[in-house]
Symmetry: C2
Subunit: 421 residues, 2 copies
Amino acid sequence: MKRRRKLGRGVAIVGAGMTKFGMFKDKDSKDLFAEAFKEMLSSVDKGVDPADIDAFYLGNFSNDFFAHQSHWGPIISDIIGHTPKPATRTEGACASSALAFREGVFAIASGFYDAVLVGGVEDMSKRTTEEVAEGLALATVPYEGRVGFTFPGVFGAVASAYFAKYGANREHLMNVTIKSHNNAPLNPKAQFPMTIRDIMNAKMESLRKRGQPVPEWKDEKEFLRDPAANPVVAWPMHLFDCCPISDGASCILLVAEEMAKRFTDDPIHVVGIGQGSGRGFHASADMTYFEATRYAAEEAYGMSGLTPKDVQFSEVHDCFSIAEILHTEDLGFFKPGEGYKAIAEGQTRLDGPKPINTSGGLKCKGHPVGATGTSQIYEVWTQLRGKAGKRQVPIRNLRIGGAHNLGGTGGTCTFTIFERR
Amino acid sequence: MKRRRKLGRGVAIVGAGMTKFGMFKDKDSKDLFAEAFKEMLSSVDKGVDPADIDAFYLGNFSNDFFAHQSHWGPIISDIIGHTPKPATRTEGACASSALAFREGVFAIASGFYDAVLVGGVEDMSKRTTEEVAEGLALATVPYEGRVGFTFPGVFGAVASAYFAKYGANREHLMNVTIKSHNNAPLNPKAQFPMTIRDIMNAKMESLRKRGQPVPEWKDEKEFLRDPAANPVVAWPMHLFDCCPISDGASCILLVAEEMAKRFTDDPIHVVGIGQGSGRGFHASADMTYFEATRYAAEEAYGMSGLTPKDVQFSEVHDCFSIAEILHTEDLGFFKPGEGYKAIAEGQTRLDGPKPINTSGGLKCKGHPVGATGTSQIYEVWTQLRGKAGKRQVPIRNLRIGGAHNLGGTGGTCTFTIFERR
């Protein structure tokens, strides 16, 4: 039945909200989502009455485990005053809210609903790091987790395979980290709004104050090479290659395209949606790409009629620095084996020809698992509307952006393309 | 934006499969789903190539907890050879696979996909009863579970409220149990294919063999009144008012209506879909109805243009006997406070004017949480096609059936109406 997939009815974004990402010991998932929802309401240019929202989709990975409570769809529905209207939870590990987004698109495109709220939340910091690591490991495919792989372990193996095949090395991973940390201070929602140089200087200052010997790091890379500053997690993944543990929430208001102008004169249109599922690396002869991302990209480009060249900037799932490199290749932005070179050349910097992760990415913005997918879309929406402030992509006539979200070790991938008209 | 909700493109069922429900220590979720999938394939009258399936939705409540593994969408996608195509998990507690079904309907109605597999699985019996009770309690809303309510506790309170308001009593609950147990032996997939009389006789036989005194139960009710045979769980819920712990899987193949005849000359059409969310009883002044079910019913009847009278038979979520009574009222089959009388009169028996739970219901068929929603639809599909064998509803010109699924203590409810044309 292969054919070019199309939606029977167009869908557009007319509002978006997100919390600051970070570790908030005094806020639970209900508090966080309420905060994101409130910002979403105030983001709708011509206003929205919550009573106009027909249905709600919530992405959450595993508050079952993290917060010892499941069935979050109706809980959040209650908090935002949405009951008795439908609330559906979607789960695809770290891509949970990208799935919620997609179901919202389908629910409107089907003709059944006109306005749908989609979002995500995760509340991880109340558990110990060990418990979070265990909870996250539940999302690796059984053939990985049960033989001892954790997430850094899998991505460490992926990086080793990539290095071996294409001649990249740790220095190339550092380029990703440094670039993302350069964007983060420009994003008021970021968990770590600091450049690597800021962190390095803070560390030197702190050592100096304590009267301890201060290493003479002459630049960011020298800092990142120092195992005292950037210890190994799972070789070649070091601390600064890994995204943090975070709490947060984000949400997006979708409406049928034909009624978008009731809410704003500047809606952002959903022009390509793609999703794929993956078997895990035990079943792959080559660990240097994600089959599910490639499938998702094919679907999204197919629907939109666009090519990777047309996507002017993108959020790309960088749970680990190596993931960003691979995915920029899987999405077709760069050829296989060329991603690390493009990043080294500065192509993905905020002022480069193909900015990637202007938000700071998962690495710096934070990664409250279930909230990440719609937070990436929040960033694309903000950029396309020219409201990203100091981190605004300086490309003239910014019109097309992408958001790529990965769940697990490639079990679930989504890619979505947005257009400002 | 209130309007009569419609789908832009019709959707029909062309295949369905399910495992026997029960406790299967030697089968995990992968084994179970593979079995249901295989039966689904063989159920398609003109055959289906799995390669024609565009996308997959899986309902699962909490294998995170029960099987210490999350992210089941891609795991099951792998097992059925579906990767790299999309796999999305939905969760709405005991209504998880009814949500998967609904998303499958939207995905096709949107025009994006033509053929979608939806289903559910749960694998509960590897944990102790205490662990299962804890896992299930995660699905009550926080204001219930955290003050000590478990599921039987909440439904016990609901029954007490109903008794007080309408003058029903325990004898009326027994009518539900006896009726469902009368249907169960006619369903080869049922976990407990026994009438209450069968169970009573077996118990007498066993006591007799062991030389112990044999109570003289003269009928089913006398057996159910005996606390030695039917101990209290949470008053007035007794053992035979409660559904069991089960493992199982079920799935449904949905296709766009206009291509259904490629697969079968006897498709079953989805004519009404409804879903609601609920706040929980802490927020309700009246515990004798489920607001979310009423909302779901309104949506489903609204879309279909049908009335409760038109629905000739239905599966109704009977996690506890009282739940079936309340829901037959919430769905409009009987007036509030009249459900228990209708059941006492035999109206919901297999040969009554409005058969309810011909499958034996959750009580006797079993309740592998995530698999229940699509197993109810499996039953309706089987009945409407006249293939239910000894439990075939004897109504002439059987054309319209319903499936009602409840998640948690009313947090999520769905109602779906099907038509044979």
